[in-house]
């Protein structure tokens, strides 16, 4: 418990410093000026999302190989947190698009692949809600999760493969790309802050899944006792 409080306080300090650095330390961008500072939250959200979805991908493979419940708990938890980060990335992108491009949204390669990724993982969560039996639910959602993850690298390379509305990558983007060194440092701090927040939320969400498993086990005990005594049994725990 002490370690949890310490980690949370440390993360809060990093988040606070990242926000301060993004707004006041990072230099002004020449063409977009202050609106470019959305970049630090925007890229932070995507970094956290890719980290969460990579964890989910590993957990999906883990379940298919070992069939241990903790892989399934980790998978659903990281997908849910990944969807939250993706939502943050999409919203900040929309709010950046309007002043920078004059439009809220366009169906360009990067935006479309991101939106498809978001829809795929929403479908993953809906699919889980439709299957009652835990083992079958974990297996089917793991297979679907691996399929959905195929879109993640496509999102990453989309603005390298197709030059449409979204700007070319500024990091690892080739000879004409790059950022001011102070911008790079602020960006790294922002990305670290968002990933740290994601990890804390993921840990909370994982504990929730473990608690749900405990409820299911207790319900099974009650059902077994009710079957023996002939009383009505409690219904299974809700997955919402």
């Amino acid at each position: 418990m002490k370690a949890r409080i310490l980690i949370t306080m440390l993360t809060a300090a990093v988040v606070f410093f990242a926000g301060y650095a993004a707004l006041f330390i990072a230099p002004d961008e020449r063409t977009m000026h202050e609106i470019q500072r959305i970049f630090y939250f925007h890229l932070g959200c995507w970094t956290a999302m890719f980290t969460a979805l990579t964890i989910a991908f590993v957990a999906n493979i883990g379940w298919l190989v070992e069939h241990k419940p903790h892989w399934d708990w980790l998978s659903v938890s990281s997908v849910e947190v990944g969807v939250v980060c993706c939502t943050g990335g999409l919203i900040t992108g929309i709010l950046w698009g309007k002043p920078a491009w004059g439009i809220w949204w366009t169906w360009d390669a990067r935006l479309t692949t991101c939106f498809v990724l978001w829809l795929l993982y929403i479908s993953y969560l809906i699919l889980r809600g439709l299957i009652e039996e835990p083992g079958r639910r974990a297996t089917l959602s793991s297979v679907f999760g691996i399929f959905a993850f195929l879109d993640a690298p496509l999102v990453y390379v989309s603005n390298r493969l197709w030059r449409t509305q979204h700007p070319a990558p500024v990091l690892f983007g080739g000879p004409n790309s790059g950022l001011d060194p102070i911008m790079v440092k602020v960006l790294m701090i922002s990305m670290a802050a968002m990933v740290a927040v994601m990890v804390i939320v993921l840990a909370e969400r994982y504990r929730l899944e473990r608690l749900r498993h405990e409820v299911d086990e207790l319900r099974m005990v009650c059902q077994a006792r009710a079957a023996l005594s002939g009383d009505p049994a409690p219904s299974p725990a809700s997955r919402n």
Binding site: I91, V197, V201, L208, R219, N240
Partner: protein, 47 residues
């Protein structure tokens, strides 16, 4: 120079609002489940 500041402010608020609402949803679901665990344990104790 500061004409687009409201977009920057909205983006900053949106990111933290999304995380805050999600965290609240986790906390409320966990509280409900903890209550259910206690009820079930009591049910088992009472036989």
């Amino acid at each position: 120079m500061m004409q687009n500041f409201h977009f920057l402010f909205a983006a900053w608020i949106a990111v933290w609002a999304v995380f805050f609402l999600y965290q609240m949803s986790i906390a409320s679901r966990a509280a409900r489940l903890r209550e259910e665990v206690e009820q079930l344990k009591q049910q088992i104790r009472e036989g």
